[in-house]
Amino acid sequence: MLYRNHDQPVVAPPSVRRRRSRFAPRPGRRRFDDGVACRDLGLVMNPPSIRLDHVTLRRGGREVLRDLTGVFRPGSLTAVAGPNGAGKSTLLHALCGLFPLASGRIDRGGLSPRSIALLPQEGRLDRSFPITCRDVVALGWTARVGWFRRIGPEQYAVADRALASVGLDGLGDRSIGALSAGQFQRSLFARTIVRDAPVILLDEPFSAIDTATEADLMAIIHAWHQQGRTVIAVLHDLDLIRAEFPETLLLGAGAWQWGASSDVLAARTIRQARLSATAPPPARVAVEEAA
């Protein structure tokens, strides 16, 4: 599939995969990749590599991640997995500059941390805040227009198309408190579409939503991937990762594994990361996460 950029010659997306995905757009299914995600906003992106060099993260006096070294390649689609407290969310925050590194460095290849979009974990947002779904999506413009410049009718038009492309047609005027968990997550995806960032970080995007929503949102992730954006998602569903994500970063018990999903998610490494059902994560870790 080819995409035309406004000011660049036609280029092929960096990694078009031939394999048919369970969630990939197919005839008869709503096609997200020819909606707003591409036509209005998504030029073919050329994000830089994000290199991690001996990154150590410490939170609450505890080392959550030690000596992580590796590269998120341009346009790669990576899942981050691991038990609670393994430092997955902390790593995402560090990637977009919201969490200080204890040691090591992150080379974003000249990309400013502000142009990395983070879709936060569902429970972190205040759903009782009196704001409409449309305004939440339009706030995605803030990263691009700044704090003070006006978000005008054109920007709102884009927000509306983004809402339509996540299947929230006509729900823009609803307050976010009146949305279901799935609809709210869709609106956050719409906000991320509006942000139009070359690198997108998703923190547990599929917690607390049903399978139909998950399928729709997964299709959007594939559209982003095909546009050449680098997408990194924290996920718990190992079957989903195996089916949809070419690469995996597995964190756990202070160690990490990074590579092709099929290698990383082999039975032995999973056991080491204490992810499998037979070996639940140690209670101590869970308690610290709750605190």
Binding site: L98, R114, L118, P120, R124, L125, D126, F129, P130, I131, T132, V136, L139, T142, W147, F148, S175, G177, A291
Partner: protein, 263 residues
């Protein structure tokens, strides 16, 4: 009386929007802490610079900012125990303030705590109007970052810390500027009660702010009239009127009103 009315109207426009944000960010307790926290500062200001509005006001603003910073520091350092730390902070501040004021001659504690319409002279009016004039444009500037930050409290955006600081400074400014007319213990009432009442009437941020302002303006006018005719201090009169609005809103408001059928 006319000066008090003008000053209270100015504050009624400026303070309730701040109150709406305080309520939305679940920082209602913070307003309590600030109003008690400014008291020692006002006392020290009076001791150092005499009984002028400016000396007492400056002391109050400084004390309020110190308390706000302390509270923020507690919040970061103690995690879950924040509530209790804030309560401890304002109890100590209130006691210290009352002790400091009682130690001085010529300061009427009741007037300071609960306000007095006759105390509103030209400098006091100027302070109230000035605070309102400063608050509205600054609030307009930090509106978007404040909204984003309230929506996602855990996300420290680059501008977020700055806007949060501005916001707390504005709250301190409004509390302090209102103390001559309303009293230190009551000036937060004009900020919080209309904002809390407005929650029951509107589901949008702009709606809540406009309703809060309307309620505050009405409460100021009615409260001052009552205070003038019945001879109770202005602060309690205005706050009681605003409190009346709150009770009515709580009972009959279209959103989460107690007497409405639950959906």
């Amino acid at each position: 009386m006319r000066r008090a009315l003008a000053g209270c109207l100015a504050l009624s426009v400026a303070a309730p929007p701040l109150g709406v944000f305080l309520v939305l960010r679940r920082m209602s307790l913070m307003s309590d802490v600030l109003q008690h926290g400014v008291l020692p500062g006002i006392a020290i200001g009076a001791a150092v610079g005499g009984l002028s509005v400016w000396a007492m006001g400056a002391g109050g603003v400084v004390a309020g900012l110190v308390v706000a910073l302390l509270a923020g520091w507690f919040a970061r350092r103690t995690g879950m125990a924040e509530d209790s730390q804030l309560a401890a902070l304002y109890l100590v501040a209130l006691a210290a303030g009352v002790a400091l004021i009682s130690a001085q001659r010529g300061v009427d504690l009741t007037h300071l705590l609960f306000g007095s319409v006759l105390a509103v002279d030209n400098p006091a009016l100027l302070a109230m109007a000035g605070a309102a004039t400063l608050t509205l444009p600054v609030l307009a500037v930090i509106w978007r970052p404040m909204t984003l930050e309230s929506l996602d409290p855990g996300l420290p955006t680059g501008f977020g810390g700055f806007s949060h600081g501005c916001f707390l400074a504005l709250v301190v400014l409004c509390v302090v500027s209102g103390f001559e007319a309303l009293g230190t213990l009551m000036s937060v009432g004009l900020m919080m009660l209309p904002a809390i009442a407005a929650r029951h009437w509107s589901g949008s941020l702009a709606g809540q702010v406009s309703i809060a302002v309307a309620l505050a303006v009405t409460a100021s006018v009615l409260g001052l009239l009552i205070s003038f005719n019945v001879e109770i201090p202005a602060g309690p009169a205005i706050v009681l009127t605003a409190g009346g609005f709150w009770v009515v809103s709580l009972l009959t408001g279209p959103r989460e009103g107690l007497l409405r059928a639950r959906g």
